[in-house]
Amino acid sequence: MIAILLKRLGQAAFVAWAVGTVSFLMMRMMSSDMAFRIAAGRYGYDNVDSAAARAVSEELGLDRSAWELYLEWLRDLLHFNLGDSLVSGLPVAHEVGHFLGHSLFLAFVALVLAALLALPVGIYSAVRAHGWFDRLALFASTILRAQPVFVIGLILLLVFALELKLLPVAGFYDLRFVVLPAVALALALAAVSNRVVRHSAFDVIHSAFFRFARVKGLSYGQTFARHGLRNMAVPVIAFMGIQLVSLIEGIVMIESLFSWPGIGHGLAHAIFSRDVPMIQGAALAMGLIFVGLNLVIDIACYVIDPRGRAQA
């Protein structure tokens, strides 16, 4: 257990350095117009001109050498200081925190909804494998997975906001606002994960140990609860971890469609206006989230599956 923790901590430090360095290098490579981009981000397209770009460049010292800027960032990072946004002038940690809080909340709700959808559908499909429900679930999953997530979002908007007027279209003022973006993401996630659950459960149900448990006299429900769930959980949990990558991918589109102030959207706009500290901060936060999630998954698998403990 401690070994897992130490390993992930080392990874986190490496990710922090690597992600920041790579985003710095990438922005330098495309940054011939950095001062202009920042000026456009700050003052708007009606007011961007060379005078504004010059003022930005002087204020931020953009003509300093890349090494100097990079070392400054690295020194600040070691002091846990992410710097200030070049566009808004606010501390990056504050901005990223604001975006990240909204994204994590949305992602959490989406994941819970996805699990609530995928687990029952997947398990029932496995129990009644090759039945009409299984086929219907496969069909629906294929259709949903084939859509870009913003199409799902748009359809939900048309039905629930425009026709039924049950839910608001965009914003983030109270809990009602999270329903549509979270359901859109959850549907996209559940479309794949219900199939993973189904296969995992199918394998367990048709395994020798499952049949043995039935033979020794346990009811179906008892067998499933005691021997089925735990065995099928490991691949499902590992998969859900991987799925978070596609969650982050979908979240950029969904955040922009629903005006949700999340990290994906914040990162995209920081790239448009070459706000390097924001890009580094946002990428760093996302990188650390992946490390953190892997840790959570490791621990979950460690707790669920006794076989791994001997190695760890």
Partner: protein
Amino acid sequence: MSGRFATDRPFWRCLLGMIGLCLLAGCSPNQDPDQLTLGGPFEFTSQDPSRDGYVYTRMQVAETLLDVDDQGNFLPGLATDWHASDDGLTWTLTLRDGVRFHDGTPMDAAAVVNALRMARLKPGVIAKAPIEGIEEAGPSTVTVTLARPYALLPAVLAHFSAAILSPASFHGEGQVDWMYGTGPYQIRSFEPPHSLVVERFDDYWGEPAHIESAAYLTGHRAESRALQVMAGQTDIIYTLDPASLDLLTRHEDVAVHSDTIPRTIQIKLNASHPFMAERDARRAMSLALDRASLVRQVMRVPDSQANQLAPPAMADWHRDDLPELAHDPEQARQLLTGLGWTPGDDGILQRDGERFELEMITYADRPELMVIATVVQAQWRDVGIDLSVQVVNASAIPRKHLDGSLETAVVARNYGNIADPLGVFLADYGDGGSGEWGAMGWHNDDVPALLKAMQATTDPAVYRRDAQRVSAILAAEMPVIPLAYYTQQTAVSDRVLDFSFDPYERNYRLSEMRFQEQ
């Protein structure tokens, strides 16, 4: 086998839960009965007037010394009187009595001098003005001294970047932590870059606002903005995309307001480029364009085609005697043939072994520009010009102007950015005929000389005469090709009364709006 159905229970429970959640959500209406909700495409990142000041003047949090009416005339704002000395070097402003900032402090000469000095620290129109000093000349009198006569000063003082905030709003080098303005609304919550909520300020010096609070939400995608108003979630949506207009005009509870604003969609081109250096080449490029169809089919605002740069509302600059710009591809081809161009095998013109191929850039901030660029691409293709279209960041236009790599660009130029269009014409044609957002590689001595003289003039008749001459030269020489006058499309829900649109986009006039009695 009854135990097998145990797995059904969580499924149905979850389904019921989901339905329940939706029903619960349906119990509360989508709109707060006391809050006006607005949406538009622009984001804001700070409360600094030099950066996002327009957001706060539009939401009526911040006010300026001078106001502007729909025709571009100056009205008293926080200053009740302003006049220049005879030599034009000293302006004296008398401040309005009894004005309080949102933090309760009075707006006096000291506060105004402080706010203007802070504004001058940052890039923008006020930093470019030849101001030598801003001083208190009494408890409610401020003087501005200039290095040279500068007729644009009232327009500069009416610009959002010169909004008057209380001294407590600033710290350090003009940083604004929290804005205390003087407007009928004060900031209640500020969540950049998406949401701003303002509430009525009860000690407002003028007519208090009817509606208690207003919330602005940034909507990045034009289709979701249109959906917001159709779904009854949002009262007013600014800057609609052309594709949503048909849908919205058919919607019963929503009215679409179309207002012309002093913004012109125009083609900026590099007149020193060998293909576009001859005036006839630029005329041919203009003749190839079917502006009437463009505004009808693409922008969905019939009769908004432009025949010159200044829109009709700018009476001093707009020339009534100029004819429509004709659409005549045949004549365009003849002009180009006269310049030595002949069609190659692929239909694209060739001259001395060179293909007539150009790049056009535009930016995504105004939703119709990309579509317009592709229409220009198709229409120029028709006369043998091969155009490639690139969508870039708006800042690429001044940047590529400076490094000389710009060939053509579609831009929406805001002639009302400051209330006197002279400022924009100076920026666009003042530097030997060129400017970062205006002409490029075009050399002319008369236009900059006229513009420079207008800066010092105080006689409206002289101003008008010179403005008309500038417009005539630009129309004849065509260093920039006008396309269409911009029409601002706004969707307004039926429950909002007394909606009006400020063509200078300075003020959303929320305080004048009321809700329909229900």
